[in-house]
């Protein structure tokens, strides 16, 4: 059992904390992305989503994504957390904060971080229904 590695957490994500983490006197704009579980009409009574991960690799891959982002936008400050375990509807599964002296960079870095996270992080999710049943959510081909 583990509570948190660098980028993964099994606890609710403290958005204010991540925003504070990227604050600096030179920061002109902070862009925060919150991923929340979308629920379509066809979904039925989903009560929660259970995220599972290849934890050691997910942590390493998220670290590589952050490092790539920093290399591309050196002035950007980044904080990122992805949930694992059971996430009730309405709670964020991922939060990414990016601040920069100029907002264009904060937006670009933010978008890059979430796109790469979705494409590369070895994380999966299962819907838990009110009936007690569970089903895997179809994913996207993983890519490095």
């Amino acid at each position: 059992m583990w509570a948190m590695s660098g980028w993964l957490t099994d606890q609710p994500i403290d958005v204010a904390r991540l925003v504070a983490d990227v604050a600096s006197a030179g920061s002109g704009g902070t862009v925060v992305f919150l991923g929340t579980v979308r629920r379509s009409e066809a979904d039925g009574d989903v009560e929660a989503i259970e995220y599972s991960a290849y934890q050691e690799m997910a942590d390493a891959e998220l670290g590589r994504i952050v490092a790539e982002t920093r290399a591309r936008w050196p002035e950007v400050r980044i904080a990122l957390r992805h949930r694992t375990g059971l996430v009730p509807l309405g709670e964020a599964s991922v939060v990414i904060a990016a601040s920069a002296p100029h907002r264009a960079e904060a937006y670009a870095a933010s978008r890059f971080l979430i796109e790469e996270t979705k494409r590369r992080a070895p994380i999966w999710k299962k819907e838990r229904l009110a009936t007690g049943a569970a089903r895997w959510v179809e994913g996207r081909p993983a890519g490095g």
Binding site: G35, Y51, S52, A53, Y54, E56, M57, A58, A60, E61, R64, H82, S93, V94, I114, T117, K118, R119, R120, A121, P122, I123, W124, K125, K126, W136, V137, E138, G139, R140, P141, A142, G143, G144
Partner: protein, 94 residues
Amino acid sequence: MSGAPGKGSGSEAGIRVCIRLFATYAEAAGRDAIEVTLPPGAVAADALAVVRAQPWAGRLAPSPAVAVNRRYAKADAELRDGDEVAIIPPVAGG
């Protein structure tokens, strides 16, 4: 890879790798790892071939991603004794 000409598998010592399975693959397999011994010179694609030979292989994606030592790897990435290989199902994070 097994039976590939020019690569011995009987007389030389093999390399042991652990193939980890996750999510739908682990569920289909009923386990989360397969320990295998591959011939020296084996590559990532050879570990994938072992998985493709499993009875539940119908559940695999057409071209599953493979990771070696916690990093995405190409099919021709050479394996070494003790490597951790993983077959990565389509991802759904974010």
